[in-house]
């Protein structure tokens, strides 16, 4: 009953306010125009609750909710934030996002954002990092912006996309494991070669990103990241038109790991570990490439990440060991079967806030994640100090429809099938296939 009450309360403003959800710049640009006023203080509800202080500043209110109904096979999970507990029965209803925040500008020079996840407040599970994007962006020059605070490390297309704009209710496993996610730092960034929509991002961060944390504790120190992305083929007029707007990106990170059992690890969506942490000392490096192509109702995306972690002096007798290597890639295809979507991912004919029924997209994704090591002395083993690591990999299929009702509401019904290569690791003995199903109601503003 509480669940339905919560859903009802959250749906209400979406129906009444008829405003635009957004937290990405591109989405704000997609907002419906707000009539200007001569008043110094102007409170608007057109796109979202927004307070304008003349030309000096504006404050936009934003929120994001993911209400999930989930099922697992086997019907158990290793609950997040529990240590060495026996597998437990997961709840069917789960709030995975409950975010509130502010976003806006102060003069033409500063952008800012403040966001916090309130899941613990609404009684969901433990959140190691409740503060999300909290930064100030200084627009120093057309080719130079400086962002400082906590924000997403510029690595990975999927990891850098706002969660309410993801194609699936599940992020790819490789993005979850190999991309760094948010971190505190300073980043220089800007668009350049506007004809090709190129963007550069170069930053230095205090740690390696929250995704590589273990129970909220960082596993690597100061990390440098750089990313170059855009549509470089746009200027090549000889290429076919539908090829020229392919989006391409490349990114790297490098950071010094903290000594100890801090190597990356692999686990199923239900939390069962299939590749444990290894002892590391030295640098962690990532290299990633990404591609996205949208043509009419069809979307194709792909991504590749390679990560290496050094193990200097980590043998049982102090000898150097070969690097841990992690490699992941995915290919995603989507087809907009009913209705039309704007480039921002909003339906052209929305339900409730317009006269249509929204838009329905059907998507599928193959995602492969592999852990192994460079060849070393001895034969492969799963020991955290093994010279040669016995590989393991996870092959994940994700598929299902997404119904974009309007700017605020999206319903996703997705299934995920994870298959492990080495089932002898301690996930669930004898099980190599794990199914997860999610019906998600997303409300974002």
């Amino acid at each position: 009953m509480r669940t339905f009450l919560l859903i009802g309360l959250l749906l209400l403003p979406g129906r009444l306010l008829a405003q635009n959800p957004s937290d990405e710049t591109s989405l704000i640009e997609d907002d419906e125009p707000v009539a200007s006023s001569a008043e110094t203080l102007q409170l608007s509800f057109k796109n979202r609750p927004s307070l304008r202080i003349g030309e000096f500043a504006n404050i936009d209110f934003k929120t994001k909710w993911h209400l999930d109904f989930r099922g697992f096979d086997p019907p158990k999970w290793d609950a997040p934030a529990k240590v060495t507990a026996l597998p437990s029965t997961p709840p069917t209803f789960y709030v995975t996002r409950a975010r509130l925040g502010l976003k806006g500008k102060v003069t033409k020079y500063f952008d800012y954002e403040i966001e916090r996840d309130m899941r613990q407040t609404v009684g969901s599970d433990h959140e190691w990092h409740p503060w999300k994007d909290n930064y100030v962006d200084f627009n120093a020059h057309r080719w130079l912006q400086v962002r400082a605070g906590k924000f997403k490390v510029p690595f990975g297309m999927e990891a850098n996309l706002s969660e309410d704009r993801l194609d699936f209710a599940f992020k790819s496993r490789m993005s979850d494991v190999l991309a760094p996610a948010r971190e505190r730092g300073v980043m220089l960034h800007a668009q350049f070669l506007r004809s090709s929509r190129m963007q550069y991002q170069v930053g230095v961060f205090r740690y390696d990103g929250e995704a590589s944390d273990i129970h909220g504790v960082p596993t690597a120190g100061r990390t440098y990241a750089a990313r170059l992305s855009g549509e470089p083929l746009r200027s090549m007029r000889r290429l076919p038109r539908n090829i020229r707007h392919i989006y391409l990106g490349v990114a790297v990170t490098r950071g010094r790991m903290f000594d100890g059992l801090n190597g990356t690890n692999g686990s199923t969506f239900s939390g069962f570990t299939y590749f444990d942490h290894f002892y590391v000392r030295g640098n962690r490096q990532r290299f990633g490439t990404e591609l996205s192509w949208v043509e009419g109702p069809v979307t194709v995306k792909g991504k590749y990440i390679h990560m290496s972690e050094e193990r200097i002096g980590q043998g049982i007798r102090g000898e150097n060991l070969p690097d841990i290597l992690s490699r992941g890639w995915y290919v995603l295809g989507g087809w907009n079967v009913l209705g039309k979507l704007k480039s921002s991912g909003r339906p052209k004919n929305p339900l409730l806030t317009g006269r249509g029924f929204g838009s329905i997209e059907v998507s599928g994704r193959l995602d492969v994640l592999t852990f192994y090591s460079a060849p070393g002395p001895g034969l492969p083993s799963r020991s955290p100090r093994a010279p040669t690591i016995l590989p393991n990999s996870e092959r994940t299929w994700t598929f299902g429809p997404t119904w974009y009702l309007n700017r605020f509401v999206k319903i996703q019904a997705h299934a995920q099938r994870e298959r492990l290569t080495d089932i002898e690791r301690k996930a669930v003995i004898g099980r190599d296939v794990f199914w997860t199903g999610i019906i998600r109601l997303q409300l974002a503003m």
Binding site: K76, V83, T84, P87, H215, Q314, P380, S383
Partner: protein, 435 residues
């Protein structure tokens, strides 16, 4: 992808290669009580430091996690460490290069002389050592004689009770002598297969979290498992309902049908034999010990409701020579109701006690011979052990044990062996004496 295909094959070859030297040896060789064994562990020095740092935290954390606690403010605690395992037997070094250790014990836990659980299969789940997946290296930190555990378990096995096999070993860690230890066979599905002829049932380790004596805890399975009945297999589906039924039956079975009804859930013949053996060796911390139920495994046979109790941790045995034969019977619902309404079960118990008397013998009997043999075997290794600890009166404080203390406790054991049978026989002959 080819790497992924080849790797498991190579891993299997690795296991075969490293274990090939061990093919000539068997579990009987490892548990050959005629010799003092030698085990060497190699561990990264920083791991051994961490092991000692987390030795006590790991135990707490495991219990908290089993109880469903959310460990939010604590950083992760590392409790397993990779080691190279070497067993020297008849001049041959039999090695397993990738085993794991974790700390072991409750009241006996010590950083001065830690106990270890060796997990041969943690990193290779099909891996084993002579067919064993685990071994315990007990530091015997509560027992100044270093022999209670081995003598008691050897006695239990002689009585036909499925008890772990145990022998003594010199233990070296990174080539430094770490002391005299007892190698203890783990109670796991391999053990039940070898001793009970099956492993398809449900095995639980009893974790002492509060004094409990089979009082009915109600219909909620979480009151029984994962604590105090911690599942050792079938972690995903640890069917607990038969335990709830077993306890309810112990509490509510009609007096007239007590034996027949309870026997649907418990192998009562085996249970009273175990109780008899425990009371014969004056076990202070067993199923009906001073802390109520403790130190046992419960195994429920596959496809049945019937369970058997398996003994564990006998370091507080040989408590006193005049330990009454019905000691603590009133503190446990099963033994108390048996005493009150089931003379057939008490007859079983008395019969098992008589068997214990006969097997142990008096002066010069089997028990004295066994203690003498073990003492002579381990004496020099015990003298060389600078880490000996003891807690003779179960005060909860482990104290250093000198060579004189060791000799004195061994002498007491001899005295126990010479006098205990006569005392028990006298109590059996004097009729029912309830303490």
């Amino acid at each position: 992808m080819r790497n992924l295909t080849i790797a498991p094959v190579l891993a299997s070859l690795a296991v075969l290669t490293f274990c090939s030297q061990a093919f000539a040896q068997t579990q009987d060789d490892l548990f050959n009580g005629d010799i003092l064994h030698e085990i060497r562990l190699y561990i990264a020095p920083e791991d051994y430091v961490t092991f000692k740092e987390t030795n006590f935290t790991c135990q707490t954390q495991e219990l908290e996690a089993l109880a469903g606690a959310v460990i939010s403010p604590l950083p992760r605690v590392i409790c397993h460490f990779p080691v190279e395992f070497h067993w020297k037997f008849n001049g041959i070094d039999i090695t397993l290069p990738q085993a794991a250790i974790e700390s072991h014990g409750k009241g006996s836990r010590s950083n001065f002389k830690p106990s270890f659980k060796i997990d041969f299969s943690r990193y290779e789940s099909r891996n084993n050592f002579l067919g064993l997946r685990y071994l315990i290296l007990r530091a015997d930190t509560q027992d100044p004689s270093l022999m209670h555990e081995r003598v008691a378990m050897t006695f239990f096995r002689k009585l036909g009770i499925p008890a772990p096999r145990e022998v003594h070993t010199r233990l070296y860690i990174n080539d430094q002598y770490a002391g005299l230890y007892t190698i203890v066979e783990a109670v796991d599905p391999i053990f039940t297969q070898q001793n009970l002829g099956e492993s398809s049932g449900y095995l639980y380790a009893y974790e002492w979290i509060m004094p409990w004596s089979f009082a009915d805890l109600g219909p909620d399975p979480s009151k029984y498992s994962p604590l105090p009945f911690k599942p050792e297999n079938n972690l995903i589906y640890p069917v607990v309902e038969p335990i709830i039924e077993m306890v309810r039956t112990i509490n509510q079975a009609p007096d007239a049908q007590f034996s027949s009804v309870v026997s649907q859930y418990i192998d009562l013949k085996a249970f009273f034999k175990e109780i008899a053996a425990e009371n014969f060796v004056a076990e202070q911390d067993g199923i009906i010990g001073g802390y109520l139920l403790n130190n046992f495994f419960l195994y429920r046979f596959g496809g049945t409701l019937r369970s058997i109790f398996l003994p564990w941790d006998k370091s507080n045995s040989f408590w006193q020579i005049d330990w009454p034969i019905f000691h603590n019977f009133s503190s446990n619902l099963l033994t108390w109701r048996s005493l009150a309404v089931a003379p057939d079960l008490i007859a079983l118990y008395r019969g098992a006690l008589q068997q214990a008397v006969d097997v142990a013998g008096g002066p010069g009997g089997w028990l004295e011979q066994e203690i003498t043999r073990e003492y002579q075997q381990i004496r020099q290794a015990a003298y060389d052990d600078p880490f000996k600890l003891g807690d003779k009166f179960a005060s909860g404080i482990l104290r250093p044990v000198s060579n004189d203390d060791f000799d004195a406790e061994a002498a007491y054991l001899i005295q126990f062996a010479r006098q205990r049978s006569a005392f028990v026989r006298a109590q059996l002959n004097s009729g029912l004496i309830l303490q």
